[in-house]
Subunit: 258 residues, 2 copies
Amino acid sequence: MEKLSIVKIGGNIIEDVSALQAFLNLFSKLEGKKILVHGGGKRATHIASKLGVESKMVNGRRITDAETLEVITMVYGGLVNKNIVAQLQALKIDAVGLTGADANSITSDKRPVKDVDFGFVGDVKSVAYHSVNKLIEAGFTPVFCAITHDGNGQLLNTNADTITSQIAVGMSNLYETSIYYCFELNGVLEDINDKNSVIKHIDAKRYEELLEQGIIADGMLPKLENCFDALHNGVASINMGNTSMLTRENNNFTTITL
Amino acid sequence: MEKLSIVKIGGNIIEDVSALQAFLNLFSKLEGKKILVHGGGKRATHIASKLGVESKMVNGRRITDAETLEVITMVYGGLVNKNIVAQLQALKIDAVGLTGADANSITSDKRPVKDVDFGFVGDVKSVAYHSVNKLIEAGFTPVFCAITHDGNGQLLNTNADTITSQIAVGMSNLYETSIYYCFELNGVLEDINDKNSVIKHIDAKRYEELLEQGIIADGMLPKLENCFDALHNGVASINMGNTSMLTRENNNFTTITL
C-alpha cells in the first residue's frame, strides 16, 4: 500500500507568521502524498469580538451560534485556509483548500441537544475518501479547515483533531496512513515538568502501563484515546511532537502504534 | 468539442437569501459541465465597516489595502463561497469552492502603481485550464470567488467579470465555452427606459451599429468590450440577462457572438 501523511497544525503555529512559514517549508519538503489539516486559533475569537459577536460558553465549553459559525467560516475557511494555500503554491505545492462541504468530503451530524445545546457543531458521520483521493490522484494537496457540512446546506464547526483522525481512518481504506499531530510539546512526556522526557514509542501495552502509572492524564487522555480509536480503525501510525518531527533529522517525538 | 457553461452571479443575487437559493436551484439543473463564478456584493463592505476597516476610494475607485484584502478573503473566499458550496451539495452538485490560489488556477500580476496605487488588486496573467479541467473531469463543479494570487504567496482582489471571461478564454482550449452573465436587467436594452426592449442577438456588425447609434453607452460599454475580447479569444457565445435565462424556457435575453 502506498503511504499517505496527514499533518495537523493548531493555533499556536497559525497565529505566528514566521512559525507558519517555517512549518509550511517543512511540510512542502515532506515526501509522498499528503494532506494538511489546520485549526483556527484565537484569530476567530479576536475577529468575533471586533464584530461584537460574544463568545458563549456553557460549562467551560464553547457554543457555536449562527453568528459564531459565520465568523468561523470567514476566518478558518477564508482568511487562514486561503493564505495557507497561497503560501503552499509559492512553495510549489499544488494545494486546494477545502471545508468538508467541498467535494462533499466530510459529512457530519449536528450534535444532538442533551444537557447542552452546542449549536452548529458537527460530529463526523462519513468521509468521502474516494472524493478526497480524486484530488490527490490529480496531483493536488488537500488543505482542510475544521468545518464540515450536514449535506443539507448547513456548515458545521468540527474539532480539527477529530477531522484529522476521521480523514485518516477514511484514507486508510486506500493508503498506509500516518498522522502527524504538531503541537507545543516535543511529544508525550514521562514527566510533564521535563520537556525532554519524551516517550518515543507507545503501543497498546505501554499505553495501559502509562494509564496505570497516571502518567497520561488531563488533556493528554482524550488525545490518546482518539489515537487508539484511529489505530483500531486502520490508521498505521500516529506521531505527536513539534513541527521538526517532519524533518526526520529529529527523532525526539512520540510514535504511537497498536 | 464538448460544451462548458460558465455562469457568473453578482452581489444582487448573493445578498438576497431567497434569490440565491432560487438561482442555485436553476444552476443545479443546468445540463452539462459547468463552472460558477460569484462576486461579493456589499457584504464585505458591511463587515469591513463593522471591523473598523474604512473603504478607501481614489477617483471613485476602491483601493484594496491589506486590511480590505483580509476582509475580502474572509467574506468572498470563506463566508459566501463555502455557503454556496454547501447549498450546491444539498442540490446534489459536487461543488468545490476555489480562489485562484487553489489548484494554482488563476495567477495575476499586482496592478502596477501609476497615477493610483490600487493596492492588492490583481490583473489576470494566466488561467491553468488543465488544472481546472482536472477538477471538472473528476466530476466536480468549480465555484470561483473573485480572488486570485501572484504565485509568490500573495492573494489579490480581482474583478469577478474579468475572472469569468479569463476562465472562459482558458477553458475554450478544451471546450465549446459559453458565458452566462446574470445581472439585474433582462439583457442589453434597445431603450434603457424599457426593460422589455431586449436586443436578443448582437454580433460584431450589430455591435458597431449599436455603438454608432449610441445605444451602448456608460456601464454597458466596458462589459461589451470585454465580451468581444473574450469572443475574439475563443469563447463561443456570451449571454446576458437575469437568472431565468438558465431555464431555456425564457428566451428573452441577449446572446452575443462574433
